[in-house]
């Protein structure tokens, strides 16, 4: 059902955990299937210096969270803001059609984390 890249990210997810000194935290959940993701970013000079995630969900949800963290590490936040859920699924080499929905978490969590970061910037 899942390809090797997906299985690899599911088995050895990159960047799992929390960042206690995160500059931005984004959360998103699928009301329908219950999958939930929390993304933590550390930003330096407008670049994502470090990133961590926690995901409750199926193989597709975990793998796409992991893949996303690889895609954004070192990226400028403006660029990161442009990443789409489809790009995450594509980077994984595709997901079964039904599972696309489960992967539609990762980019959203990232965007929420960036918005959170910007809000904190504005407030300080």
């Amino acid at each position: 059902m899942y390809n090797e890249t997906v299985i690899d990210h599911f088995n050895n997810p990159r960047n799992i955990g929390e960042l206690s000194d995160a500059d931005g935290v984004g959360e998103t959940g699928s009301f329908k299937c219950g999958d939930t993701m929390v993304l933590y970013i550390k930003v330096k000079n407008e670049r994502i210096e470090d990133v961590r995630f926690q995901t409750y969900g199926c193989g597709a949800a975990i793998a796409s969270s992991s893949m996303l963290t690889e895609m954004v590490k070192g990226k400028k936040i403006d660029e990161a803001m442009q990443i789409t859920n489809q790009e995450v699924a594509d980077a994984l080499g595709g997901l079964p059609p039904l599972k696309l929905h489960c992967s539609n978490l990762a980019a959203d969590a990232l965007h929420n984390a960036i918005i959170d970061y910007r809000q904190k910037q504005g407030a300080s």
Partner: protein, 387 residues
């Protein structure tokens, strides 16, 4: 990666026994006649089908002429429910439960759209329907009650005998989807007081795509198909002869094995349940005692069932889940929801269903692998950390 297969998904399907395969083989290339044909090869096959019907009836304490061979549990359920409704054309009231298999549940939904009224009885936290609730739900125009003998996901056994005698007392037809029970526990149609009973061969080490429907003599059902006169028009179409032979042989073997098999599976089941419950934040779904001999269903809190299945599969363990992400429809199981389980616990459900082939070593192997799988997934999960 894996060096063994531990198959614990017998609720989905079972391997066909060697004796069953052997019984079927002559009916592909040697005795291939059409049982409706008048010539000798046809008549010989007719005789074999008749014998299979007798064996099947005997296993259920039924009369041979009350057995109709079908393509499986789904078709048996459809014929019983739709056929009864059709005979009553014009409406009326149906009582069923909120945890039926889709082959009953969705038929009831359709019948509702066609003008019949349906009551979906709630179940308690263990998934049990109470006979008292059934009694209270009865209306003057209730014509059929359909309650499954055991639930396929959580394994809960229903008080079929009590509901059967209630239905009999009030002259209401009673159907039970006994797909998960036949071949696992003793079944006698008179003892249970059922008018219809559905069974499926692939759940008791028989072939897939063959089942049967028991219909009590005198009960009025309209055929929902048009075709030849096979199965007394109830299920027209040339008989699946090898399947029928295989079903009857598998049933005969399964029924004679019940005493041994039941004890053995119950012991393995309870050991597996005990071991799984020793892991933190694991709950048992279904009834602690009133459950199928081979059914284990637990929820691992803070993690999602499909991810557990995937991890188990990599260790060579085959199981199933009622989580939304594993369902193919992204809907969580209606059964777990009906027991009142909260959504997130329902998402973490995993069913291990044991069968003849499983050993104590299999249970030990599963119990050795599960804790680390659960721990790994919990370490990724936000809900586990934020406790």
């Amino acid at each position: 990666m894996q060096n063994q297969l531990v198959y614990m998904d017998h609720g989905a399907t079972t391997p066909v026994r060697k004796e069953v395969v052997d019984s079927m083989l002559p009916f592909f290339q040697e005795q291939y006649g059409n049982p409706s044909s008048l010539h000798t090869p046809g008549r010989k096959v007719r005789q074999a089908v008749d014998e299979a019907r007798e064996k099947t009836a005997q296993a259920l304490g039924a009369d041979p002429e009350d057995i109709y061979f079908t393509s499986g549990g789904t078709e048996s359920n459809n014929i019983a429910m739709r056929g009864t409704a059709k005979n009553r054309s014009g409406g009326g009231h149906i009582i069923t439960s909120s945890i039926e298999h889709h082959a009953v549940f969705d038929v009831c939904r359709d019948l509702e759209n066609e003008g019949y009224k349906v009551t979906y009885l709630p179940v308690d936290q263990f998934g049990r329907v109470s006979p008292e609730m059934v009694r209270k739900a009865i209306k003057p125009d209730t014509f059929i009650i359909s309650i499954m003998a055991a639930n396929n996901e959580i394994g809960t056994l229903q008080p079929i005998r009590e509901i059967g005698s209630l239905a009999g007392e009030l002259g209401i037809l009673f159907h039970t989807d006994a797909v998960q029970v036949v071949g696992q526990l003793p079944v006698n149609v008179d003892d249970l007081n059922v008018d219809f009973l559905s069974l499926s061969a692939h759940k008791f080490n028989g072939p897939k795509g063959i089942g049967a429907l028991y219909v009590r003599k005198g009960v009025k059902v309209d055929s929902i198909y048009r075709g030849g006169s096979q199965e007394r028009k109830m299920r027209p179409g040339t008989e699946n002869v090898p399947g029928i032979i295989g079903l009857s042989r598998a049933l005969e073997l399964a029924v004679s094995d019940i005493p041994k098999k039941k004890k053995r599976l119950e012991a393995l089941r309870d050991e597996l349940i005990g071991g799984l419950l020793r892991i933190d934040d694991v709950v048992l779904n279904g009834h602690p005692e009133q459950r199928l001999p081979g059914n284990v269903n637990v929820s691992f809190k803070h993690i999602e069932g499909e991810s557990v299945l995937l991890s188990l599969d990599m260790e060579g363990i085959a199981a199933s889940s009622g989580s939304a992400c594993s369902s193919g429809s992204l809907e969580p199981s209606h059964v777990l929801s009906a027991t009142g389980l909260d959504q997130s616990t329902a998402h973490g459900s995993v069913r291990f269903s044991l069968g003849w082939g499983n050993s104590k070593e299999d249970v030990d192997y599963v119990l050795q692998k599960v804790p680390s799988i659960v721990e790994r997934l919990r370490n990724i999960s936000p809900t586990y950390h934020s406790r």
